[in-house]
Symmetry: C2
Subunit: 273 residues, 2 copies
């Protein structure tokens, strides 16, 4: 099974792919999100993992756009705790290090750890796994990187300090996409996108179709549209799958009162890893 | 008036600050978001501008956390169209360029433009304004940067191609924060954060307090809490300010049925620039 993901080898997306599909998969790293949707659409990969929201950085709206554009169904999800580690080449000790490189978000998330080390130079880099790769490729013995456990394994680096992020409430939700849907009989969850009509209380009425059927909501997010200040897209996840009659009825009801409605997929609820 | 922002001189945040407060302000660039909140709290800046959501990349949850932590009121907002430009040192022509550097998000957003130029090397950099600064500091005559108009002015670069992003629906909403609130009499908007009780239909009941008073919602977003799958924070913006009785009543009513409620600020609705 070949699974596409965005980023360098050793990226958090790779960890999500391995956690979800198992260690036996073949990995296909690609440079951007569009390429991984194309790889699945064109049968160059059986599946892809895409980050859809991070607990600190928010939703990745671009991937919602790609889900709408490619119409590839969501077939699963996984919540990955983002654990940042400080790593360096084997033999390098903490006192040898003059510089720490990583993605600006990772540097910011490890700010408290780095502040205890006031004479260190902090250098932003374009990618976490890329910063680990850089140590290895340039044989930097005065520099450490902040990246994933997977990146340390991949580039044969030693972890000098583990879980150095200040806020352990840092996780990313990844979706898996495939060509065929995979609707579960139980523990299901469904993701939809809809746009309300321009009428008073439109969102309230939209949520009533779920509340009146005792369907629990899992995520709700509005997305403003530029220059159309009274028009929004809504992303909604609810408990239950398209195999449940109440869910199908709620979606039919929602279709009556919205301008636009698309189901992105019904899939089994994900685990935290 | 001194205004703090995150990033290098020439950042999109600087454009937002100048658009909102006018060209006469003194600018205080700082390396991270926490520093700009600290600058306002400690009277080293009169105000700060913070990005809170981008139409492609989503909400900046970290800045919501800092709003809750510092309790500095939101005093205004502005929507900035993100226009990416290709720029190089004066005298450099497009045919001299072998390499384009910028933040990975900007490179991705200009993918269609860059694809028309197949022999170019694309190199991710930590920051858009930082990539413009790099051309000037290293006197790179075979490299172009993708950054803002403000960055081209700041580092005295020539714009070789304007508005090269594929999706012109790319804008960022910035908030201004100050020490004193600034509640308008009209055209008001209020931002709140709340957490529902763990009861069926909790969100639906929360929205009823606005729908029953004909108060329009402007933004609604749930944020999951790690390891507590049935607990969420909600970010909500609604039309009207704390000077409106209906809004005050709605908030009192919401307080009765939520676990947690905090007003982040009442301020005048922002413009698109």
């Amino acid at each position: 099974m070949r699974v596409a993901f965005q980023g360098e080898v050793g990226a958090y997306s790779e960890q999500a792919a391995v956690s979800f599909f198992g260690a036996g998969i073949e990995l296909l790293p690609l440079p951007d999100f569009r390429s991984i949707f194309e790889a699945v659409a064109q049968d160059r990969a059986h599946a892809a993992v895409v980050p859809i929201e991070n607990s600190l950085a928010g939703s990745v709206h671009q991937n919602y756009d790609l889900l709408l554009e490619f119409r590839l169904p969501i077939t699963g999800e996984i919540y990955l705790r983002i654990r940042h580690h400080l790593m360096a080449l084997p033999g390098v000790r903490k006192q040898d290090i003059r510089r720490v490189i990583s993605h600006p978000q990772a540097l910011e998330q490890c700010r408290e750890f780095l502040q205890q080390w006031p004479d260190i130079e902090i250098v932003p880099y374009y990618d976490t796994a890329g910063s680990a790769k850089r140590l290895r490729e340039a044989n930097l013995r005065d520099t450490a990187a902040i990246a994933s456990h997977q990146a340390a394994l991949e580039y044969d680096l030693n972890i000098l300090a583990s879980e150095i992020e200040s806020d352990h409430q840092n996780f990313t939700r990844f979706l898996t996409i495939e060509k065929q849907e995979n609707i579960p009989d139980e523990d299901g969850k469904t993701s939809i996108v809809f746009a309300t009509k321009d009428i008073p209380g439109a969102l309230f009425k939209s949520l009533a179709v779920f509340a009146l059927r005792d369907i629990n909501l899992q995520k709700l997010e509005s997305r403003p549209l530029l220059g159309r200040p009274f028009q929004y897209l809504f992303y909604l996840d609810f408990e239950g799958s398209l195999r449940d009659e109440a869910c199908r009825n709620a979606l039919n009801h929602l279709g009556e009162i919205t301008r636009f409605l698309q189901v992105l997929g019904s899939y089994r609820k994900g685990q935290f890893v």
